[in-house]
C-alpha cells in the first residue's frame, strides 16, 4: 500500500494516465501541486504567460491528438483567466481537464484572498465539474474527470482543489483507478438499428442527396469510415468549419465547407437537396442561416452522439443518437450488395453541382498584380503550396480565419484547428504552440491577424523558454478585418474602432524575444520570405505580410435568408 499526499496523488495520477504535457501557471493555492510536479520528471509542465494561453495550448493539443489537454491553474484570477479557454473548448466539444487550486476549505465563502467560486463561474461552460472534498478521493475524481472529458460528446471538466486537500502532511492510500463508473452517465455506443435502416433506405432512394458532416466525425475519429461511406454512394459532401478534413478536400466529391462563408456550391447544393445526411454536426446558426428557409425540399437524417443536438434548431426526419463511427460502419454494412435506386438522377444532380462550381471558377477573388500589396487569399494559397497541404494549421478569428479555411486545402482530419463555436481571438498562437510542443516534427502554421495576435502575443516568451517552432503568418491589414467588413456592409463604412493605428513594429517586437520576423510588403517578396520562413522546422518565425485592407470575405450569406442567398463579391449576389 502506497501512502501519498493529495498533491503527490495528482502528480502520480497524471503519470499513470499517460499525460505528457500540462500547461499552467503557479500561485498560492496550487503550490503543493507544483511542488509535487517539481519532484518528478515524467509529466512536463509548460509555464505559460497567461492562463488563457494554457487552456488554448492544451486545447490545440487535444484537437490535434484527440486526447484530453490538461491545464493547471491557481485559484481566483488564475482560474478566471482560464475561463475564455474553457468556454472555447466547450463550444467546440474539445476534451480538456482543468485543475484549479482553491483556497483552503475552511476559508471557502469568506471572500478569502484569491478566492473565486470557479465551479459556479464555469458551470454553464463545462461538461461537468468537481470540487474535491477529501484528499483520499483525488484519484477517483481525477479519473472521472478524464473519463467525462474524453467520452461521449467530449468537453472540458473543471476540478476545484482546495489547498488543504493537497497538504504534504496528510497522506492516504493511492491506487490508480483503471475504470470508473457513474450511474447517471452512460454515453451511447451505437445507434438504433431500425433508424439506421430507415436512413439507409432514404439514402438509396435519394435523387439529390448531400452529406453534411461536422466536428463529431473528427472528435469521433470516424473520418476513414465517412470517406468509405461517401465514396461508396458517390454523393456530394460538404463539411462544417469544424469538420474540415474529415473527408479529403482534394476529392471531387467534396464541395468544401458550408454556411455563412462556405463555398457557393456547398450552399447551393444544400438548398436544393432532397436529402441531407447530417453526421456529427449541429445545425449551427452560422450554417443554416434562417432556419425557416433552410433547405425547403430536403428530408433530414441527423446522426449525433448528443440527443440534445438533434432537432434543436432544425427538425430531423430520421434522428439517430449514436457515435459517428459506429453509425457510419453500420450504414456501410447495410449498404453491402445494395445499389442506389436512381443513378441517373444522381448524375443529373452532379451536373447541377458542377454547374455551380463552374459559375464561380476563377471568380473567387481578384489576384494582386506585381508590385501591389498582396490579397490575403493569395498568401494562404502560397502557404498551402509551400507546406504541401500537410501542416497543422491554427487560426485566430476574423477574415484570416475564413480565408485560411477557404484556401488551405486539408486532406486529413485534426489538421485545421480553429475556434469555431466561440470565435475566440487569441486562440491561434497558443494553440499552435501546444501542437508544436507535442508534435515537434510536424509543421505547425498559425494564421493570424495583428488584432488577434496581440491578444496572446505574450506566449512568445513561453516559446522562448520551452521551444515551439511555429510559423506565424500575420495577415496584416492594420484593421479588424471582419469587423470592418460588417461596417462596410451595414454601417456605411463607418469604421468604428476597427482600425489599428498604433501597431508595434513586429520585427523589433519578435526580435526582442530572439526570434526571426520577416516583412512582406508586395507580391514579389512573398516567395523568398516563405522559403526563409519554412527553412528550419524548429525555428519560430513571424511573417508579417501586408495585405489589402479592402478585401472582403465572400461568399457571404445574406442575413435572414436561405442557404442560397449569398453575396458573391462586392457587386454580385445570388
Amino acid at each position: 500500500m502506497e501512502l501519498l499526499s493529495g498533491a503527490d496523488m495528482i502528480a502520480r495520477f497524471l503519470q499513470d494516465e499517460g499525460v505528457e504535457y500540462i500547461y499552467g501557471y503557479p500561485g498560492g493555492a496550487a503550490l503543493h501541486i507544483y511542488d509535487a510536479l517539481f519532484r518528478q520528471d515524467k509529466v512536463k509542465h509548460i509555464l505559460v504567460r497567461h492562463e488563457q494561453a494554457a487552456t488554448h495550448a492544451a486545447d490545440g493539443y487535444a484537437r490535434a491528438s484527440g486526447k484530453p489537454g490538461v491545464v493547471l491553474v491557481t485559484s481566483g484570477p488564475g482560474a478566471t483567466n482560464a475561463v475564455t479557454g474553457i468556454a472555447t473548448a466547450y463550444m467546440d466539444s474539445i476534451p480538456m481537464v482543468v485543475l484549479c487550486g482553491q483556497v483552503m476549505s475552511h476559508l471557502i465563502g469568506d471572500d478569502a484572498f484569491q478566492e473565486t467560486d470557479i465551479v459556479g463561474v464555469t458551470r454553464p461552460i463545462v461538461k461537468h465539474s468537481f470540487s474535491v472534498k477529501h484528499p483520499s478521493e483525488i484519484p477517483e475524481v481525477l479519473k472521472k474527470a478524464f473519463y467525462l472529458a474524453s467520452t461521449g460528446r467530449p468537453g472540458p471538466v473543471v476540478v476545484d482543489i482546495p489547498k488543504d486537500m493537497t497538504a504534504p502532511t496528510e497522506r492516504y492510500e493511492y491506487v490508480y483507478p483503471k475504470k470508473v463508473k457513474l450511474r447517471s452517465y452512460n454515453p451511447v455506443t451505437r445507434g438504433h438499428t431500425g433508424q439506421i435502416k430507415k436512413a439507409v433506405e432514404l439514402m438509396l432512394k435519394a435523387r439529390r442527396p448531400v452529406f453534411y458532416t461536422g466536428g463529431g466525425v473528427v472528435t469521433g475519429d470516424a473520418s476513414e469510415g465517412l470517406t468509405d461511406l461517401v465514396k461508396r454512394l458517390g454523393f456530394p459532401i460538404t463539411t462544417t468549419l469544424m469538420g474540415i478534413g474529415a473527408f479529403p478536400q482534394s476529392d471531387q466529391q467534396c464541395l468544401g465547407w458550408l454556411g455563412m462563408h462556405g463555398s457557393y456550391e456547398s450552399n447551393m447544393a444544400m438548398h436544393h437537396a432532397d436529402l441531407i445526411v447530417a453526421i456529427g454536426a449541429r445545425f449551427d446558426d452560422r450554417v443554416t442561416n434562417n432556419t425557416s428557409k433552410f433547405c425547403p425540399t430536403a428530408k433530414i437524417v441527423h446522426v449525433d452522439i448528443d440527443p440534445s443536438s438533434i432537432s434543436k434548431t432544425v427538425r430531423a426526419d430520421v434522428p439517430i443518437v449514436g457515435p459517428a463511427g459506429s453509425v457510419i460502419n453500420e450504414m456501410i454494412s447495410l449498404l453491402q450488395g445494395r445499389e442506389i435506386a436512381n443513378p441517373e438522377a444522381l448524375a443529373e444532380w452532379w451536373q447541377s453541382i458542377d454547374g455551380w462550381r463552374e459559375e464561380r471558377r476563377g471568380k473567387l477573388y481578384e489576384p494582386s498584380a506585381e508590385g501591389e500589396v498582396l490579397k490575403p487569399q493569395e498568401v494562404i494559397e502560397a502557404v498551402c503550396r509551400v507546406t504541401r497541404g500537410q501542416a497543422y494549421v491554427t487560426t485566430d478569428v476574423g477574415q484570416h480565419q475564413m480565408f485560411a479555411a477557404q484556401y488551405y486545402k486539408f486532406d486529413k482530419p485534426n489538421r485545421f484547428v480553429t475556434s469555431g463555436g466561440l470565435g475566440t481571438m487569441g486562440f491561434g498562437f497558443p494553440a499552435a504552440m501546444g501542437i508544436k510542443q507535442n508534435f515537434p516534427d510536424e509543421q505547425v502554421v498559425c494564421f493570424t491577424g495583428e488584432g488577434s495576435f496581440q491578444m496572446m502575443m505574450q506566449e512568445l516568451s513561453t516559446c522562448k523558454q520551452f521551444g515551439g517552432g511555429v510559423k506565424i503568418i500575420n495577415l496584416n491589414n492594420a484593421s479588424l478585418g471582419m469587423v470592418r467588413q460588417w461596417q462596410d456592409l451595414n454601417y456605411k463604412s463607418r469604421h468604428a474602432h476597427s482600425y489599428m493605428e498604433s501597431l508595434p513594429d513586429f520585427q523589433q517586437l519578435i526580435g526582442s524575444y530572439g526570434f526571426t520576423a520577416l516583412k512582406v510588403q508586395t507580391k514579389e517578396e512573398l516567395e523568398s520570405a516563405l522559403e526563409r520562413t519554412f527553412a528550419d522546422n524548429d525555428e519560430l518565425v513571424f511573417l508579417d505580410v501586408a495585405v489589402d485592407p479592402h478585401e472582403h470575405v465572400y461568399p457571404m450569406q445574406v442575413p435572414l435568408g436561405s442557404m442560397r442567398d449569398m453575396l458573391l463579391s462586392k457587386t454580385e449576389r445570388t
Binding site: 459556479g120 454553464p124 461537468h128 470540487s131 447517471s184 448528443d306 440527443p307 440534445s308 434543436k312
Partner: protein, 163 residues
C-alpha cells in the same frame, strides 16, 4: 403547455445549481420548483413545472438528461399522474369573516393549523388550480401571508421513478 418534470439527481452540493442554471442559461422557464432528499440519501427528487411547446419541452428533458448529476427523469404530464402542492396561508379572521373563513376552509377540505384572536393559519393541499381557487376565495377577507411549496407529483398506477 404546462409540464411537470420530476428528476432524480445526485444529492450532492452543486447539483441543484446545475439544474436551475440550465433553465436560465438556455432561456427555459421555471414556474415552480420543489426539491428534497429521497429515502435513498444519495438521491434528491426535484420537481419542476415549466411551460413550453413540444419542441421546448423536448429540449428541456434532453438537456436535463445530459447533466451528469441527473440520474433519471420523467415528464409526469405525459401520462396520468397525481399532482399536489401544499400551501400555508395566514388570513384575517375577525368578526363575521371568522365564520366565513372557517366555512370556506371546510369547503376546500383545508385545515386550520394555528389560531389567534385575529387570524387563522390554514394548511391546504391540492393541485395548483385548487390552491389558486382557495386564494381567490380568501382574498376578499384579507390574505396576510402565503407560502406555497411548489408542485410535487407522482405517476398513477405501476409507473415508478426510481433507480
Amino acid at each position: 403547455m404546462r409540464h411537470i418534470i420530476s428528476i432524480l439527481m445526485e444529492n450532492e452540493p452543486g447539483a441543484l445549481s446545475r439544474v436551475v442554471g440550465l433553465f436560465s442559461q438556455r432561456n427555459f422557464n421555471i414556474e415552480t420548483l420543489n426539491v428534497a432528499p429521497t429515502e435513498d440519501e444519495t438521491l434528491s427528487r426535484l420537481t419542476v413545472t415549466t411551460i413550453g411547446d413540444d419542441r421546448v419541452i423536448e429540449q428541456i428533458t434532453k438537456h436535463l438528461n445530459k447533466l451528469i448529476d441527473v440520474v433519471k427523469l420523467v415528464d409526469l404530464t405525459e401520462g396520468s399522474h397525481i399532482e399536489r402542492e401544499l400551501m400555508l396561508v395566514k388570513v384575517k379572521a375577525l368578526g363575521a369573516a371568522r365564520d366565513e373563513v372557517k366555512r370556506t376552509v371546510d369547503i376546500f377540505r383545508a385545515q386550520i393549523v394555528d389560531v389567534t384572536p385575529s387570524q387563522y393559519t390554514v394548511q391546504i393541499t391540492g393541485d395548483a388550480s385548487k390552491l389558486d381557487a382557495f386564494l381567490e376565495a380568501m382574498s376578499p377577507v384579507g390574505l396576510l401571508e402565503v407560502a406555497r411549496t411548489g408542485v410535487s407529483g407522482i405517476a398513477r398506477a405501476d409507473k415508478v421513478l426510481s433507480l
